[in-house]
Symmetry: C2
Subunit: 209 residues, 2 copies
DNA sequence: GTTATTACTGACCGGTTAGTCATAATGGAA
DNA sequence: TTCCATTATGACTAACCGGTCAGTAATAAC
């Protein structure tokens, strides 16, 4: 009848629990980092007890794995869509992709997750592995392909596609670290979109024939 | 007479203790990360007991601070030397500096320290602060100055020096993360010097008039 | 209603480890 | 030789926290 727990006042909705827990975990991980986040806090923010969390997730790492998986999948498929849908000269794609990434850095929790993966991959190699397989090994070839297309069409010089892809992404990684590590301790804010645009311009001119 | 501790067999040399302890800490931090390194291990590797370490360093964080300070000072002063000693056209300096950085990434513990700073700066903001003040706020202006010189001399286009400096360093940060995070979990090795050279070529062409 | 099932919780435990402290060894000075 | 400042240590503790579990509340089934 009541469908509500007497104690918490919260509705019971087992199907939504995992998503609620993950949302709470993502917020807390982003705010305080993975190790500094207590399972009790995740539970409290999700509106149940710590033991309740373990009904839905095997352990703390499972939370992180689920989050990495989720965000990896989402981002990569969008990026792939952008790249594969594009026809004609690839040059404009460089700026488009970098602007897309800038938006992700600015408006999503992607940067925080990357930082957490960097921090935790030694202690939790499965998490690093997930990121390597789900993001790096999906994303880099995408950009390498883009470079190759440009070389094939004569737009780009004969650069090493693997190196060039990394040189294209490196500055965005710097933006991620700037935002998640340096800004919180007092570094001047970085205008990520403008930065990405400037980088796109330099990079494009740098690889053009 | 003997000048040796009966128990450890090691010579007593209080003046060298701090350096020995730091060397041990650096090795271990690089191998296993900061939090995973136990004070007992640092002590053992340095050849004394844990309590002994606390005779020379206030706490665990003090070890990390000392290491960051040390390496920051060393690297920045060398880089400054390279940049300031250079006369004539600045274009060649871009490749020189990037090659120098590639060497540092490949042959020193700098990458591991950066990774640790990234990982620990939320829990130990003083460490992050040290890095921000000692490396970022020393290093970036150096590169910005280089860009400005190039613009003033007409070698470079009128790019934003702050953005351009970050775009120049970003790919090296990617190399750092690649080496310290991805390679240990199975990513293919990155030829850092070749990568830096390719990036230098692209970047230089990208900012030239 | 009564029973069975699912969802949930409070209290607890075991392992871990930074940092402390009372005490001891050391070696130079007198 | 004796002293004592310095250098060192083993043993300890206090706090923390992931994960477990015995039991309870809510819902569904009959």
């Amino acid at each position: 009848m009541t469908n509500r727990s007497v104690i918490t006042g919260k509705p019971r909705r087992p199907e939504e629990r995992p998503a609620e827990i993950l949302a709470a975990a993502l917020e807390l991980f982003a705010e305080k980092g993975f190790s500094a986040t207590r399972m009790d806090e995740v539970a409290a923010r999700a509106g149940l007890s710590k033991a309740g969390v373990y009904l839905y997730f095997k352990d703390k790492t499972a939370l992180l794995k689920a989050l990495v998986n989720e965000m990896a999948g989402a981002n990569i498929s969008v990026a792939r869509g952008i790249v594969e849908a594009h026809e004609g000269p690839v040059s404009p794609l460089v700026a488009t992709i970098l602007a897309f990434l800038a938006g992700q850095v600015r408006h999503t929790r992607f940067p925080e997750l990357i930082k957490i993966v960097i921090s935790e991959s030694r202690a939790h190699p499965e998490v690093g592995q997930l990121y390597l397989d789900g993001v790096v090994r999906q994303g880099l070839p995408l950009f390498e392909g883009l470079i190759r297309r440009g070389i094939a069409s004569g737009e780009f010089r004969n650069v090493d596609p693997s190196f060039a892809a990394k040189a294209m992404l490196g500055p965005m990684l710097l933006a991620v670290i700037w935002k998640t590590v340096l800004e919180p301790i007092g570094a001047e804010a970085l205008d990520i979109e403008a930065y990405a645009a400037q980088h796109a311009q330099i990079f494009l001119k740098g690889i053009q024939s």
